[in-house]
């Protein structure tokens, strides 16, 4: 079980959190034209890197805040976490 530092609450065990996927994905702007390929890339396609990965977590059984984590997908090491409007301080 991972130990994750919520930027609002501090270190908590993984069972308080839900995983939220790739943190680098930008949703296309509402109302703007977008071709099918770009849209499908946004909806369906994700990189599956081995190593450092920026991802989203949700402190579901805690403060209910979404935040970013920089995690190694192979070793599970978490290098840093930060609020959505911050950058990692690595």
């Amino acid at each position: 079980m991972l130990e994750i530092r919520c930027p609002y609450c501090g270190k908590r065990s993984q069972n308080e959190f839900s995983y939220g996927g790739d943190g680098n994905i930008k949703r296309p702007t509402l109302g703007e034209e977008i071709n099918t390929k770009d849209w499908d890339d946004f909806v369906y396609f994700r990189d599956n890197p081995r190593g450092k990965h920026t991802e989203l977590w949700h402190h579901t059984s805690g403060c209910r805040q979404w935040f970013k984590a920089s995690r190694d997908t192979a070793t599970h090491e978490i290098f840093a976490t930060c609020k959505m409007n911050e950058d990692f301080n690595e």
Partner: protein, 1003 residues
Amino acid sequence: MRISMSNQFRTTNSNGLINKNKILNFTFNGQTFQGYEGDTLASALIANGVHLVGRSFKYHRPRGFLGVGVEEPNAMVQLHEGDRSEPNIMATEVELVEGLVANSQNCWPSVKFDIGEINNLLNRFFPAGFYYKTFMWPKSFWYKIYEPVIRKAAGMGIAPLNPDPDRYEHNYEHCDVLVVGSGPSGLASALAAAKNGARVILAEDKAHFGGSLLNDDVTIGNMSGREWASDVISQLKNLPNVVVKNRSQVFGYYDHNMTVMFERVSDHIEKPSQYTPRQRLHYIRAGEVIVSTGSIERPISFGNNDRPGILLASAAREYMKVYETLVGKKPIIFTNNDTAYSTALEFLKNDITPIILDTRDNSDGELVKEVQNQGIQIRFNSGIANTKGHLKIKSATIGKLDSDKENFISYEEVECDCICMSGGWTPTVHLSSQAGNKLKFKEEIDAYVPDQKRQKETAVGAANGSYTLDQSLAEGFQVGFELSNKFTSNNSKTDTPMSKEPSQESHEKLWCMPLPNGKKPKRFIDFQNDVAVSDVELALREGFRSIEHVKRYTTLGMAGDQGKTSNLNGLQYVSKIEKKIVPEVGHTTFRPPYTPVTIGTIVGREVGNHYLPTRKSPIHKWHEENNAVFVAAGLWVRPRYYPRGNETMNDAVNREAANVRKNVGICDVTTLGKIDIKGPDAPEFLNRIYTNAWLKLPVGKARYGVMLREDGMVMDDGTTSRISENHFHMTTTTAQAANVLSHLEYYLQVVWPELDVNVLSTTEQFAGVAVAGPKSRELLTKMFPSIDLSNEGLPFMGLIDTKLGDIPARIYRISFSGELAYEVNVESDYGLHLWKKIMEAGSDFGVQPYGTEALSTLRIEMGHVAGPELDGRTIPFDVGLNGMVSQKKDFIGKRSLSKEAFVAEDRQTIVGLVPVDKKSKIPEGSHIVENDKAPTPNPKLGHVSSSCWSVEYNNPFSIAIMKDGKKQIGKTLFAVSPLKDISIPVEVVSSHYVDPKGERVRS
């Protein structure tokens, strides 16, 4: 039953850790024995001369004790009787209590005469991979013939059938330094870390602390090893920053230094208090873990080396020193190293002279010298070729080895009643390996030791391959101090005491004896899985090269044992045949649990009603008192129906639903998800979340909304109302409430943080009651006489804030049943009061409560979609909600709706089905096909999502989602359920079966 001559095999001295003043009676295989307080089941049986405890897994060979603790592969018993009965328990790990009952397993009819032993005679038909090779063909034989027979023959113990009556607990702990194992290096690290001020947990599997110090004659400072151990333990126990746990096995090492420990809290207590759990699981998140798990002695492979009475030399010594038990009186000691000589010395203390066989040419170690000084002649260059004795060892064929030790040059038959063997030592690296440590092979000890760590874990002492006491203590004190310095600023270092132990010479690299002339007895490597040298040879001959493949083909090192005594010997043998060095062969992966753990401990308190939380509405008590039959809806418990007299479920559901159509019914809808949405950007936010328009919803009005996922699939639906300019009240389905909240939070926090909106779950804050039916207006008018509830005063999709007496109440004009209907909300605590008031006021109008079944019937008849239709595979078009999709604005998932497949001409859509005979109920999940006689695969047009008995038309009615559905209306097709062998001719109709124009809700 007879009482046997007891305790004939006890030592003459009493320096052990048992209490001979307290006699304990116990039963093994129906016979009563006596042992002492402090005994294990194993030591008490051996003290009574019992070595035969079970039958081996594959060949059903008679087996006894090999070890004295967790390393035991053979002596597994069925412990206790009745509901507390437990299979596969190591007798070496069971502390004796008064009245203990144990039985042998894997034998029938008895351990002394076992039918399955025929497998041993037929052993040439049971080679490695036997199951893979034999039971391949024909396939149909597998389920009916092979598998049941194999299961019966291969079973170990028997699991009890009833629930476990004992209580188990989970505990979460945090500490700076966790020390696993209380041998010399563990005690040293714990003391050094604790005295430096770190928060320390020290865990020991056994009842007694000290590890090897309990068995070795050594000196630390001016104390014996044992005295030093108990001195350190009492120092630790007196420190407030230390938790010391015995009977506690750290069996798993997971990510981020999460370890899991299994504590036997009251297994050793005859009558534990009812407040004491039987066992406890500790989740320990440690800053640093010190692995001081010691080492396990290796057996030696020789002909018939598995007979009862053949055991590890270290085990024999611990039985003597800790349990005052003699494993035999005519021992042979067989070794490739010096350590077994301390076992010889211990026999000599009891006036027993062992025969000593040493594979080496010579040794000048101090232990060897001491044995020789006592006038014992050591047979160097010797080994055991074979043994005799069916149920217990009787004699051994010992042989002189030739110079390259590949053959015996002479033989001699020697009587004996036990053989104590030692093939050297293997560091217990399981936890380090589980932690991700890349092990390295240490040539001088011929074993793997931890090397490159991935987590905050440090091995010390024998677990690190440091076999001398000096090294162990030095490492322990050093590592304990250094690691604790990460957590404290005391910088206070504890001095390492001087220690003294006999010097040792190195071992010989020889773990497998040659076969005796002209014979091929089995030479076992893995006792638990019945894997012999010949099985490994066969696997290699058949081309299995990877050690992981050899492991799986032969089962070497698998299962509960995790290769504790067999792993290295297996590797050594593979490397010898393959002519590779061991590190090239590699090693298999160690997995948790290190030792078997009861399922009860893993489950803890999460059993029965504690398995999941239960959510009940504030009106629950009334439902209970009024004969409701309940159903689980997620975590919620909801009334399903309220039977009267002898009514069946169908009777009750039809009555409840019909009463809504005719009079008025009320339903507890408290479980619906409710989300409070506030902020100046709330209308804009809803406009993006929902498919329809929200900007112009007037205050005091509700609107039905549908929300999609980005892939275009419907996520949820519900009614959302505008309470004031910037304040909305959203409702969700019961099932999706939590997901919808997370969804809204995601978009507000991650995607559109610029929107000034807050969301909060208010599901628990409001109780809700649906009042539905043509007489609902009259009923509510009676309850709220001051309010205008006419169609003009409160039109469809309107809402009014009012009061019920002094209680604030909100009335929504919304309908799920398709009838004229309202929903009344009050604060939760007044929910029961509201419900009772409605029932009271409704008595003149024939009011009846209705449950989830009638609720379903009413919405299915009307063609309203719910969970079964919104199953994550349907877009709005599929479920008849295309009218809800705004063409003017963008919203979540909109772009997906124009994908090719989603706009296809023959896209699936919702329809109704009525059986042609107007009688047959169509099972939910049935497939719709054009021709029920067509050969498989019969093309499927769609599936039945919801079924009910239409109370309006008095015949079955179903909703289906079907390819090109609207074009199928009027056709006769078949609803087939091949699993139930059902085929029903059905007519396809509109999904709006009742009141298709929706006039009633607006009446």
